[in-house]
Subunit: 412 residues, 2 copies
């Protein structure tokens, strides 16, 4: 066996080539799950899988698998490398695609080196990770892990009124395999960080040891609309002001502690939304995240307690609707250590870290030992055409993935 190495030029070239598929007249990249653009991206990916001599399997929710197996190892559970190739609207070219194409590049590198794996190695592109067209996000991996039935998934209606099942059939990706047919021995996902931590600390590799728990709530505050000129400050029941207090409370709580809890109010609406009327209603969302379930629960409780105080103090009515709740995910310690080892071997400065975003890995972690590798995102930017990672970092990440997969696939 010769030395293992990623074909850097081919990997970067494919990332760019896939990144040109699904651009509109203004040059905006959008490949929503089940769309014509998604079909074009899938077709290109499947062609590359076939070029590499992999067996292509597509399951009923459209998850694509390229499998490298031999008669000697076909009875073993495979090492699975995965991510997604669907995108948000006006996307960058790295989110998801980088991990999928690196998975293929890893298999090709192993093949080129004459590596003989003890287990099959497969690369997966999971359907509808972004969740822009169909909710929930991470749908394909969720179904693969048994968290949602295939029938329920196929029946989901999209934001445009389409049905996922019908759209997959239309674009030729309603496959024959039963979701979950491929049971991995281990799962590794390589992804851009989508945050600023690695760049800020001058590091090349993140060994992702866990994934934050997420709590999404919608808060509605009802006060009383009144004339902005004639209502003394002391007599107001101002829903907008109460909403502002919640935002400053969340920030002050976060600043006043050493915990990694993050709190975001991303959506906000005032009613009646008139310059000279005291808001009768303010509706907003609260996104709380923490890698520790106990701390996340404590943050939710602190908010809830504050809302009770606020309702009394400001004479407003506050209702809370839970939109989503995911417990934190702890990744597999052995794989995380393999990632750290691999980074060290290649002289790449690394740290353990937490994923703030959701990823397919959190779903597959339900059914197999899993972990993730992060590379730096310039400026922490993602979900934007300004999403960037240096070529050298892209290759460094794929090289770490290659080493980790080789180690995992060498052992029985």
């Amino acid at each position: 066996m010769t030395a293992l190495s990623i074909d850097a030029e081919r990997l970067i070239g494919r990332i760019r080539e896939l990144g040109e598929i699904g651009r509109d007249g203004d040059g905006r990249l959008t490949r929503l799950a089940g769309s014509d653009a998604d079909k074009a991206g899938r077709d290109r990916f499947v062609a590359w899988l076939r070029q590499a001599g992999l067996a292509v399997a597509i399951d009923r929710v459209g998850n694509i698998f390229g499998i490298w197996a031999s008669t000697d190892n076909a009875d073993k559970k495979p090492i699975l490398i995965g991510s997604h190739i669907d995108t948000v609207i006006d996307a960058g070219i790295f989110d998801g695609c980088y991990g999928v194409l690196s998975g293929l590049a890893v298999i090709e590198a192993l093949q080129a080196a004459g590596f003989i794996p003890a287990r099959p190695i497969a690369v997966a592109a999971f359907t509808n990770e972004e969740g822009v067209r169909y909710a929930p996000d991470m749908l394909g991996s969720l179904v693969h892990a048994g968290g949602l039935s295939t029938e329920a998934a196929l029946a989901i209606s999209g934001t445009d009124g389409t049905q996922l099942g019908a759209e997959l059939a239309r674009i030729g990706y309603a496959g024959a395999q039963e979701p979950g047919f491929l049971k991995p021995h281990a799962y590794v996902e390589l992804h851009i960080e989508q945050g600023p931590v690695l760049e800020r600390e001058g590091l090349r590799i993140g060994a992702v040891e866990n994934l934050q728990g997420i709590s999404w709530q919608r808060v509605t505050i009802d006060g009383e609309a009144n004339h902005a000129g004639t209502t003394p400050m002391s007599m107001r029941r101002d829903a907008g002001h109460a909403a502002a207090r919640v935002i400053t409370f969340l920030r002050d709580e976060a600043r006043g502690s050493n915990s990694p809890t993050v709190a975001t109010v991303g959506c906000m609406r005032f009613e009646p939304d008139a310059i000279n009327v005291i808001p009768s209603r303010a509706g907003f969302t609260v996104d709380l995240r923490d890698p520790d379930e106990q701390r996340l629960t404590a943050a939710e409780a602190a908010l809830s307690g504050y809302l009770d105080e606020l309702a009394a103090a400001e004479q407003v009515t506050i209702t809370v609707e839970r939109l989503a709740r995911f417990a934190p995910v702890a990744f597999d310690r052995t794989i995380v250590e393999l990632i750290e080892d691999a980074a060290r071997t290649h002289g790449l400065a690394a740290r353990r870290m937490t994923s703030g975003a959701g990823h397919d890995a959190q779903m597959i972690a339900r059914v197999a030992p899993s972990a993730m590798i992060f590379v730096p995102s310039i400026g922490g930017i993602s979900h934007s055409p300004r999403e960037r990672t240096n070529d050298a970092d892209l290759i460094a990440g794929a090289t770490v993935l290659l080493d980790v997969v080789a180690r995992l696939a060498a052992a029985e």
Copy 2:
């Protein structure tokens, strides 16, 4: 001359009758300036003016005047009573209409009592006071006072793309008189308070001695959109959070002082307005009011200073656009004292007060001694179908108006 008294039944009946004109299929009352509903309301009012034997004059911006003059007093400047009969969308029946119809009731009461005025007495309904369809509000009285040219007013485009001049012509209320043709000796406007003060204090009459200055600004805060999960709290440039700080600053400033300054943030928009994205932009309005010009200027300066601090502390960019600025208006002391006297005579508990809302009186105050009379608004509510004033308070207010006008019209 017999004793002066308002025909209560007729006044209340007309307020209700006018309040039925312009209702939609759902029973919502809307008479926007220049609309078919406005025409129907104007036609009814003009019919009542003619029934009372008044000379009807309509000026080029559609202001309607009912004039009671005799050959003995026609050379004198008239006492003018006025307000408006246009409404907001889904309005109550009292705002404006109460003052106009009470003005007519006062003239009828004087006529019925055989009162011989030393000057003409006129009642006016000014065009587009509410400003819902055409900006600015208080348009008809502004033009009457010479604050806006007739040509400019007629050329104003509405929210629905119509032109005020064309709409007035279409409904038959583009009159022949030159705006400002009627130069009042004094102006009195009777209006519902639209605030909670009189009701809270158990008073029947407000002798309005001044009208708050108004400062309207639009504030735009630009930060940086980032992932809600992956961006540590310490690295955020959160425009929504900065906007919330401005709201709490304004409230804390108002609470920490004894000044009557009121501050309202009525409109708010976050961008991109997504649950899992830190807002890159927050745009909101600030409505500041104070009856004292110095204090209003100080409140504006305090806000401006805070915005500078905030921009530095939160690393955001803040731009401010001035939308409107009116200096406070002081009403005529002699007329205010006449109102207090009249209330006292009738055993009506009264206080001097400040108008928090804008009214036609503030425009006419530019060209004639002016003042206003307020009656209680139940719950302080206006611009709403829930706008209410007790019949007894409506008649009390009209009675005070009658006394004041009789005193003003008796003297040379």
